[in-house]
Symmetry: C2
Subunit: 276 residues, 2 copies
């Protein structure tokens, strides 16, 4: 066993006992698969924990369901990033869905996830799913006015994912959505990555008329406080709640009461949002 | 600079860059004061992070205000543990308060907090505050039917604090409360210390007719997801909300919306509570 440490900043990190299962140098990044006694299998990209068997349900449920429920009848879903397949799995829980497109830049992430994370990646070969190995930014140019839901399941805004946190990119997302389309993005930790968080929100609100920020407890992400931002040009995402659909979803974190209080955030986070 | 690591379990920990400011061997524990670039000054007892300048407001506001607001007119407050003074500071924000008793077993914690954490300990010498250097369990025997609020601001249920998580102890708390008294306790992390969490709740619900569990994001505590349990024999703590009092409080985390949604927890936490 080794101790694997993810440094959240240069001054703090999470350290986890682990055995190395596999290390892959792909064209884009280093993919590391660890076996950990605390969190089960863990997927690490360029030194940053992306997902673990134990707590991945939190991130994936909270990323996907609020956006899916904000839309009256989501049929076409695009996930950008998310090669581990967790967001695909959650999107398919909505019976209205006819197609899920996954646009992942790094095929090696998909191959590794299917091999080492079957409980997460297990729906990637569902007949409703189509996988595109492509750059999300370029992919969006091809699909105008097409999707009901776009889910930005990206890594941190450094390197390949940096462009995914800009106004230009969110404008492309908007153009690829149908009129009542909804997008959602993971938008980092307000505690540990306040600058990233502010940047993402300030860029999203320049592009979409309606937006809302919500949080979830994710123990293996920096500070444990993670944010998501949902946005739509036509749907009032904060006040549109389809409560009756929640009980049909088989989930472990997301539920009626979490949904009802979704946009409740601590005062200091509300203050950051207001100033973004 | 060194790297200080708190091990949450034998398999995971938080590691923080730090300079050692002071190390004190008291009669009860090792008190370590660190200066950290990420979290400011940090108080560590027997290797466990108790409080930091940067995020202490979350723990102290969330521990104290819900209980104070559950009571119609809290005048007499007892804090057991809490030698750093943060809970005293928050309790004094309520204008109805006439006396705050602090019962801390280890005087060295108070001395160190006053010296190294003035922003936290600064209200310990307020005229309304009386400090007792005593064992909380023994102290309660002396004060029957006296307090409106009892705040259990203890360390983890190991060593000196173990007794503070038992039915016998909660019965003494109840006997020391007046008829419409309210108690609140920090009850550990449902993610990382599920057994402690279950134990605390199952013992509290044996003693008090009404109880409710709520969570807060605390980056420097295990998993970042921290729980609190509020309980009362006569007050329906879940449904009693004094919203009008919230805006009088000067806080950074606690606010109207957090209070309105206080008892909203993820489904898996609700499931643990139901089974406790």
């Amino acid at each position: 066993m080794i101790w694997f440490t993810e440094y959240w900043t240069e001054n703090v990190g999470l350290t986890v006992k682990a055995n190395e299962v596999k290390r892959i140098k792909s064209k884009y990044q280093e993919i590391l698969i660890l076996e950990t006694p605390e969190f089960g299998r863990m997927l690490v990209l360029d030194g940053l924990i992306q997902t673990t068997e134990r707590d991945e349900f939190i991130y994936h449920e909270m990323l996907v369901h609020p956006a899916m429920l904000a839309h009256p009848d989501p049929k076409r879903v695009l996930i950008i990033g998310g090669g581990d397949g967790g967001s695909v799995r959650e999107a398919l829980k909505h019976p209205s869905v006819e197609e899920v497109h996954l646009c992942e830049i790094d095929e090696e992430v998909i191959i590794a996830s299917e091999k080492y994370f079957p409980s997460i990646a297990g729906k990637l070969r569902d007949p409703k799913v189509k996988i595109f190995i492509a750059d999300g930014n370029a992919f969006l140019e091809e699909k105008k006015d097409y999707y009901d839901i776009i889910i930005l399941d990206s890594s941190d805004p450094v390197g390949a994912s940096e462009v995914l946190f800009t106004k230009e990119f969110y404008s492309k997302v908007k153009a690829s959505l149908r009129k009542d389309g909804v997008m959602v993005a993971q938008t980092e930790s307000p505690m540990i990555q306040e600058e990233y968080f502010k940047k993402a929100i300030s860029e999203i609100r320049k592009v979409f008329r309606n937006f809302g920020v919500y949080l979830a407890f994710i123990p293996t992400y920096p500070s444990g406080m993670w944010s998501f931002t949902i946005a739509s040009e036509y749907i009032d995402v904060i006040n549109t709640k389809r409560m009756e659909k929640v009980k049909e979803l088989k989930t472990k974190y997301f539920c009626d009461s979490i949904y009802a209080c979704l946009f409740t955030v601590p005062k200091f986070v509300e203050d950051i949002i207001k100033k973004s």
